[in-house]
Amino acid sequence: MGQRKPSRDTSRPAEPRHAAPRPAPAHAAPRGGLRLNVTSDPANLADVRHALEGFCLQNGLGQEAAADVGLCVNEAMANVTRHAYGGATDRPVLVTAHFDGSAVTIQVRDWGNGVNPAGVEPKQDPTAPGGLGLVCLRRLLDECVYTPQPDGMLLTMRKRRPAACKTA
C-alpha cells in the first residue's frame, strides 16, 4: 500500500498532504458527499475505486453504473500519476463526489503539469499503446470535462442514475 490511505471525510475540508494550494470552494464536496485526499501512488487506486463504487451504490446508481464510475476514476487517477505527475507517486490528488438526486458528479484535482488530455485524439488502432483510459472516460460517462487550473487540472465527471434504478 502507499504511504497514505485515502481519508474519507464528509464533514470538514481537508488539505492535500503536500504543499499544494487549498482547492477552491467550488471543488469541495457538499455535506453528504465524498472527499478523498490521497497521494498519486497507484497503491491508492483500489481504495479510491472501491469508495467511489460504494458511494454510487448508496445513491442508487446500480452495479453497472457504479462499476463504470470505479473504472473511470481508476483511469483518471492513473493518468494523473503517469502523465500529470510524470510517474511521481508522492503528489497530492483530491477526489470528491456528490449526488444531486439524478447523477453522481466526481471531481479529480491534481497539481501537475496542467496538460489537457481533452486534446488527445481518440486512438484508432485498439492495439496501440496508451489512450485506453480516455476511451473509457469518453464512452462510459455522461459528461467528462477537463478544466485547466492555474496550478494543475480539474477533471469533472458525471454519471446519471439509470432510469431503471430510479424506483429502487
Partner: protein, 117 residues
C-alpha cells in the same frame, strides 16, 4: 508441465503442448500490472510458447494498464505466428475488452478446455 511462478497474480502456470496456460488472480490495476508484466514476459521467455491461454476466472477487475499487458503478450505472439486466448471472462473484464475493441484481437474462449482444443 507445471511452471514455477513468483507473483501471486499468477498462482498457476503450466505448459500444455505448445501452449502456456496462465491462471491470473486478483484485481489488477496500475499498482500491480508492472508485476504482472514482468512475470508474464519471464514465463514467455522461459517456455517459448506458440499460444498463451490466460484464464481470467480469478480476475473480477482489471484496468487499462493490465489489459495493456495482455495486448503486449498478444503482439509478441503475433511475431511468432501465435495467438493469445482469454478464458473465463468476468463481466467487468469482458466490458473493458469490448470498450477497448479488443474482442476480435484476442481469441475469447469459454474455458481452458475450449481454448486448448
Amino acid at each position: 508441465m507445471d511452471l514455477k511462478t513468483i507473483s501471486p497474480l499468477i498462482p498457476a502456470a503450466r505448459k500444455v503442448g505448445d501452449a502456456l496456460v496462465l491462471a491470473l488472480r486478483g484485481e489488477i490495476d496500475l499498482n500491480s500490472s508492472p508485476e504482472l508484466r514482468s512475470e508474464v514476459l519471464a514465463l514467455m521467455a522461459k517456455s517459448t510458447p506458440k499460444r498463451i491461454v490466460f484464464n481470467l476466472a480469478g480476475v473480477p477487475y482489471m484496468d487499462s494498464s493490465a489489459l495493456a499487458v495482455l495486448v503486449e503478450a498478444m503482439q509478441k505472439m503475433r511475431k511468432v505466428g501465435g495467438k493469445v486466448h482469454l478464458t473465463n471472462l468476468q463481466p467487468r473484464v469482458q466490458g473493458l475488452i469490448e470498450i477497448a475493441r479488443l474482442g476480435t484481437i484476442f481469441v475469447i474462449a469459454k474455458d481452458e478446455a475450449e481454448a486448448l482444443k
